[in-house]
Structure formats: structure tokens, C-alpha cells
Amino acid sequence: MADLFANILNLDWKMVVMWVIGGVLIWLAIKKDMEPTLLLPMGFGAILVNLPLSGAVSHFFPDGSLDGEAGPLSVLYDAGIANELFPLILFIGIGAMIDFGPLLSNPILMLFGAAAQFGIFFTLCTASMFFDLKDAASIAIIGAADGPTSIVVGQKLQSNYIGAIMVAAYSYMALVPIIQPPVIRMMTTKKERLIRMEYTQKPVSKTTRILFPIFITIIAGLVAPASVALVGFLMFGNLLRECGVLDSLSETAQKVLANLITIFLGITIASQMQADKFLQKETLLILGLGLVAFIFDTVGGVLFAKLLNLFLKKKINPMIGAAGISAFPMSGRVVHKMALKEDPTNFLLMQATGVNVSGQIASVIAGGLILNFFL
């Protein structure tokens, strides 16, 4: 009988704290519908890996040699996250899901996507006050509002805080509807929020839709070669969608492939949420810095629109600048809803969606630039 319960003696309070954190993630996923595809597996995984002597992860002797058999989550981590394979494959699915139509119809909107990456670089400087540059860069990329990019950059830069970075990246993406509105209101006047923008959907040829992902890959690869896998996989997925002859592959990438990878991604990331690695004061600091990144992304996008308004005859509603962060489609919807709240007849959905899609391209390129700087 004593043998049956012997493992309970190996339990410590940090593990229990991690169960609570896992429970909170599961609660947020189910009750609040916050990124459930990632937060639920991560929440469950956090509990799974924080059971005493959990067989789900590998254990090591002090000399670094393996104690017993390798745990399945550790095997999955080495096979799919440590070499960035899972996030890259997920990017094929994401690329297949994205319709670049609103963006191709009005390419100038892409500039807002660039401006809204400001939070990444501001956070890089801020984080560098506390962390070494590689960790600071990995933390800053939380501002890309793009989970796979955060994983790839964090892994390539060999960050020590990949678990905390993942939790922050996915949690803040889900919290966009809470984080962005007060920042947008603070940065704009009521008169600016009431600005109307005409939207005319210009036709986009199939040739443009096909050539766009190919050209983006070439440009990004030439400028930021370290990001070419990120951009390339995203654009390959989009090419599957747009080519018109691979509908079943596109469908598979959007649904089956993306879902399969998502199942393993969340629970595998949780293998990095072991109490001794996760419950550090640095984790709280990383969560704070992630919030800084999202806030300054929003500030960057809005300020850029205000700057353009100094020179434009037809004014832009500066709120659409905030949609330049990659969190899709939450950010576009936030701006659309805020515009409707100010004036129920002011529809900014299409413009905001175009800007939001541009944020997805810009965030990947930002990730590539970060890798160029620090790899």
C-alpha cells in the first residue's frame, strides 16, 4: 500500500502551482474561448508534465545522461519543435487559409503592417535591459502576434524561456480585444475615430494572386535569408490555395494538416512548462514584456496612420493602423467594432482586414530580420 502512494512524496508545491496554471489555461480556452486550439492542449500538458516523475517527459541524471526511457513529449519536442518543423508545417496550413485579396486590391495597406511591428523592436530594446540580446530578441518577437514565428525565432536563438514566450504569445493574441481598444482610444481623438474611408474592391487577376506568393518568397529570401523557411512555407500554402488546380491539397492543408499539427504543437510546447523551468521571476517579466510589445505594436500602427494623415487629402481613420498586428482576424474585428461603436454607419471591416493580413506578412519578415541580426 505504501508503495502505491510513494510517488506522492515527490510532489512539491511548484508542481501544484503549475496544475493551477494549467487549469486556468483550460478554463480560458473553454469558458472564454481564448485560442482554445492552443491553450487547451497547453493547459492539459502543463498538468501532465508536472506530475512527479512524469513519464510524459524525459528525466536526466545530473551528468546529463538519460534516466530511463525518453518521454513521448520530449521525443515530440526534439522531433517537431527543436528543429522548428511543426510551426513551419503549420505555416503551410495558415498560408492556405489566408485570402490576400483585400491586400492585393489595395497594396498600400501593407505599410500599416510594417508600422505595427514597432512593438517588436521597442520591446527588444526594453527587454535588453533585463536579458541578454538573444533572449531579449526571442521575447520581443512575442509582438509578432504570431505563434509559429515566435517558436521558430525562440528556437533558432536558443532562448532559455521558450515555454513562457509561447504562453505569452498565444495568451496575448487571444487578449487582443481587451488590450487594443484602450490603447487605440488613448492614441486617437473622437473626430479621428469618426473618419470614414471609402472602400472600392478592385478586381485582382488570378495571375497576380499566383505570382504574389512566389515574389514575396524571393524578396524575403534575398533580404532576410534566415526567414526564408518561414515566409516560404506560408507562401507555399497560399500558392496551393491560389493555383486553382490543387483544391484538395489546399483543403487538406487548411483543415487536416493544420489541425493535426495544432494538436501536437500545444501539448509539446507544454513539455517546456515544467515547474522548475517555468516558475521563475523571469516568467512574470516576460509576460509583462509581451504586453509591452502588443501595446507598442498598436501605438506604432496608429501613429503611422496619423503621420500619413498630415500629408493626405483623403484622411485615413487611424484606428486601422492598429489592425497591422498579425493577430488575425481578431485585430481587424476590434477596429471594425470600434468604428461601429463611434458611428453605426461607418464600416471599416474590409480596410481593417486588409491591414490585418498585411500584418501577417510583416510579422514573418520582422522575425526574419531579428534572426538576421542575432543568428
Binding site: 535591459m129 488570378k206 530580420l369 538576421n372
Partner: protein, 58 residues
């Protein structure tokens, strides 16, 4: 790794902020120009290249 609080590092690393924002605007600017050219070139033959109807895509 987490070391200590070094406020001067913020100023030291501002160069990355400048380089990063410059780099991202340069890349996105190039993509914008290229897309405008693509639209202009391929938009000349609307009959050959049928405009997409988003509802047909699903």
C-alpha cells in the same frame, strides 16, 4: 540569460530598432511597388484573367 537591470542597454540597442524598422519598411515597400506593378500588368487583360469572386473560392 537573465542578468541584472541595465538601463543603458535600452539606448545601446536603439540601433536595432532603427535598423529593424528601416528594414521592414524597405522590404514591405518593395512588395507594395511590386504588387502595384503586378496589378497594372496583369490587370490589362481582364477577360483572360478572370477576377476572383471570393464566394467561388470555397
Amino acid at each position: 540569460m537573465f542578468a541584472s537591470f541595465e538601463p543603458m542597454h535600452f539606448l545601446d540597442n536603439l540601433k536595432y530598432m532603427g535598423l529593424g524598422m528601416l528594414g521592414i519598411f524597405a522590404v514591405i515597400g518593395t512588395i507594395v511597388v511590386l504588387t502595384l506593378i503586378l496589378n497594372a500588368v496583369t490587370g490589362q487583360k481582364p477577360q483572360a484573367d478572370q477576377p476572383d469572386d471570393p464566394q467561388d473560392r470555397r
